[in-house]
Chain length 673, copies 2
Amino acid sequence: MSDDVLVVFTPSGKRGRVPAGISVLDAARKLGVDLDSVCGGRGICSKCQVAPGAGQFAKHGIAMAPDALTAINEVEQRYDRLRGLQAGRRLGCQARLQSDAVIDVPPESQLHRQVIRKSASERVMVMDPAVRSYFIEVTQPSLHDPDSDFDRISSALAQQWQIEGLTADLPVLARIQKVLRKGDWQVTAIIGQAEGMAPRLIDLIPGFDQQPLLGLAVDLGTTTIAGHLVALDDGRVLASDGLMNPQIRFGEDLMSRVSYGMMNDSGAAEMTAAVRAGLGDLVARLADEAGVSARQIVDATIVCNPVMHHLLLGLDPVELGQAPFPPVVSDALSLPARDLEVPIHEAARIYILPLIAGHVGADAAAVVLSEQPQKSAAPVLVVDVGTNAELILGDETRVLACSSPTGPAFEGAQINNGQRAAPGAIERVRIDPVTKEPRFRVIGVESWSDEDGFEDAVKATGITGICGSGIIEIVAEMRIAGIIDRSGLIGSPEQTGTARCIPDGRTFSYLLHDGSETGGPRIAVTQGDIRAIQLAKSAVHAGARLLMDEFGIEEVDRVVLAGAFGAHISPLHALVLGMIPNCDPARVTSAGNAAGTGARMALCSRAARREIEAEVRRITRIETAIAPLFQQHFVAANGIPHATDAFDKLAGVVTLPDVGFQASAGRARRRRG
Amino acid sequence: MSDDVLVVFTPSGKRGRVPAGISVLDAARKLGVDLDSVCGGRGICSKCQVAPGAGQFAKHGIAMAPDALTAINEVEQRYDRLRGLQAGRRLGCQARLQSDAVIDVPPESQLHRQVIRKSASERVMVMDPAVRSYFIEVTQPSLHDPDSDFDRISSALAQQWQIEGLTADLPVLARIQKVLRKGDWQVTAIIGQAEGMAPRLIDLIPGFDQQPLLGLAVDLGTTTIAGHLVALDDGRVLASDGLMNPQIRFGEDLMSRVSYGMMNDSGAAEMTAAVRAGLGDLVARLADEAGVSARQIVDATIVCNPVMHHLLLGLDPVELGQAPFPPVVSDALSLPARDLEVPIHEAARIYILPLIAGHVGADAAAVVLSEQPQKSAAPVLVVDVGTNAELILGDETRVLACSSPTGPAFEGAQINNGQRAAPGAIERVRIDPVTKEPRFRVIGVESWSDEDGFEDAVKATGITGICGSGIIEIVAEMRIAGIIDRSGLIGSPEQTGTARCIPDGRTFSYLLHDGSETGGPRIAVTQGDIRAIQLAKSAVHAGARLLMDEFGIEEVDRVVLAGAFGAHISPLHALVLGMIPNCDPARVTSAGNAAGTGARMALCSRAARREIEAEVRRITRIETAIAPLFQQHFVAANGIPHATDAFDKLAGVVTLPDVGFQASAGRARRRRG
């Protein structure tokens, strides 16, 4: 056995000479190799498992001797007996290097594990949570060494884990005495290490604690509150759930809630209490689903729009309802969970992502974090449609953001047969360009309306109305089928060749479904519905064009539809409608719940928090309200897909008939008169 | 008017060339002269008043022209009209330098004012509180500049006061929106700048706020809670008050409270609630006395012994009651006032001084801060006597500390006619060495018992017993008068020549006062009383000797008696009793309530907080319980003043008669048998 040995770790390729007899774990630490350990090398946690190589490694210039590592020892044998050690694996803290060796660190033994996010772009995220646990051995006090219990924990963390300057809140301090003694001076310390703050003792548990630390990622929306329960060691989602935002009873949309706050002295406080209670319900549900205690949740992140942000924090949202819309505070916040009355671990903090502006929220910031326009080579437009559309346009050079007031049409409000996305709502529609006959799908039923079994299947819910994604598809399909013209007018039965176009006052409606025979509603799309959708989509389009003007481009390379709504609308139909600017349909994708993904990223990675805080400071905010060109863009966007833009990227995918019904509307009026 | 001018500021002597036309305030800032300003030079606060010189200043080489400063302007005239400007004074922010000048900064215009502390050593303290107010002008938001309200405040503080990285808690954030608009974007920000923490917005007040910021300094004792209300600009005490610690109902001394906590499940919590309620009462009383609102109290400091420390914080004190006495936490703490339920400003923090050890408290640390043994050239012994004696011995080279268990005798417990220090208690005693007749003073009565008017004056309270300081004087006086010998034995009437020595079982008692004729008690000092005092004082003496051994000295240069008790006992009598080691009586002084002074210093000065935190880490803790020599010192100290030490420093001040009553005790026994 020579004095020092050469060791190469794979897959990192880190190599170096270390003293013979050193443990593999210590060698890994010396060489900066990412090898996990919670117990600090005491053979308890098994996190440091490695797979030693064997034989010749020409690439590394190493011929491994059979006894390059010490033989399996008692600690490993016991561990194998009790919990099973995979063949070829060793505990890195037990196996010692006797001669040159090549050691593989399997993915599950890496502290900073890489997690592939299932998003359009499949990016890799490195686990780097703000809360971790550390097993420590604490020296016992004696008359010769009567330091405080807290000093002992602090010293143990400094010596055994290089964590300096520990702090703790009173409730944790009140427990440490008993826990140290119960654990016989061996304890697991749960430590919060948030950016810019001293390390904080969140909890202390007797002995070596095997329970995984959990985190909560919340997308707090105007209508729904969605949450994920996440394991903080590897980022896996243990439970997901959502509930209606209990604030709904104060107003369906944001502006009605802001008004409620203005009209009622205790209005804002009531709404704050309601949303906090909702978060409490969500926590209880998630913990129940995953079969864990809510106290295991030691960290949380929340993303939300500015009004929800203020109402959650107990800040008056009134200024957000009027120009110049200044928020009370826009920076990222890290607040004690108990200050927000969220019933997770009593010493947990909640990280709230920064607002981009008074009308571009932390949810938009989370979308930026998830979709990373700032890393795109070509300009990408990210569109998050709700009551407000939040628009982000950017590439590596710069990122712009604005919001545009769409109104509630996309949520099914102001639509004749509109309704929420709920069982019974029509969500997908196709219209035959020849027969003009529709077929559709209803939420809660697998088959299309023209397929076998549909009628039976739909009996449970009935066909009750049209939800937001449904109305977008219908209007686009009507345009493709020549039932409406570029200006949005519905043609007469004669002009369109279908009896489904029915006179309705001075205009026509398109009958989508007549349920009256079976006691259900007649579901039709009125001219008013088309106008409402035109206004809403023009706002989105105009906002996007304003950003493009500012960016100095005529075209975007790709479009990402974000948000729960974006996940349900068809990219092609959004293009035909002209909600988004002219773009190759193959380059329009849905990002799913990108805000929720951003919340999970911030939960799993402190680097992600730093990144979004820096990025938000860099984003240029564009105010649609004072942009001279906004109105002009808005008017031109009223056409379907656009009054002046040919939308040439649609060519080859879909052909829009060149119809015009101006006269027919006149005829309908005359007929009525 | 030349391009730049020479200006000299007195008394600092700081001088330099500044551009002509600059305001005196700006010149002071450029040259690093300590000139106060709260409004930042807007002519509102009047804190920057200066006294310009006139004529020749040979020393500085300056001949001041009559128009060296600009003439008094409108702002100054208005200020003079409204609030009065002292003759010869100018507002530093208004007066501008036109040619060379000498400018005096009067003491009240210095930001870091020097305050002479009324202590034995009359040290100077520089005001440097952790909370200050700053007047700021905040830019209004517009669509072109829609930053958050908090960002605006943060920027204004950075630009106008160089305070970077502001933070705020939720309750303050919830108010800033309204305050900014009410103050028309001119506001006074109350900022906490505690050591090692980011600057914190404590409150925001519309306009320029004239109300002084207040601080609370508390000495939380086992028996009493004493507090001072202090103005944070100049350190003046606006009100002082004290009340009984409501925990008394759970036990008079610390150990009985620790036991109560051990015996009753919710015992510690009840005591925590009681002491916090007591602090609340104290706050209410102090605010009432000073005619201020408790919300004006924006900072607080607390000193206390380790058991009170733990009970206040809600930490279990049990471990403090048994070796090795480890506290839960000993570092200085800065905690939100609301966490301790102290009803001062809701965003205030409370600074609790560090514990020195599990049985040497934050009160002892405060004594160190006040008495500064670490700055003494020769070794000084600081003695704080209560149920425990806390002893500190140090000089510039090192500081040692220990505690020694005295028991409750010095508090009047275990004494035949002992009682608390309350009206009617005998507190001072003199015994005529020839006649052996006593005279005394009673709490609540000005005159001595042998003076005219005493009998009338004392009728209100009666003469009810002997308090702690009284018993020390009596025992020492009995020794001086030859009524007891070195071993502490009381002599017979024959041996002492006075009928006041009365047989009492096998021993004698000394009759101090016979109130039986007027229906009052007979007050006598029994042999048991002497023994109890001997045990108590031996513990103090032995602790001091142990520190001296460790320090390697045979004698201390001076002794400081600290604590409320120390303030009431006579240094000479403490020496005669041998409670403290042999020392020149002229070098034994009382420091008054040094712990309370230390609390006030920490309130007024962040430098003082840094100093005591650093000093406490440097202090060597000596454990009397494991010191082999402690018992030996204790036994030798049983003599009065000492069994073996001659106490030669008493020579020339008082002569102790060389009497011995060993035989007489035997005689008393025989007489009884």
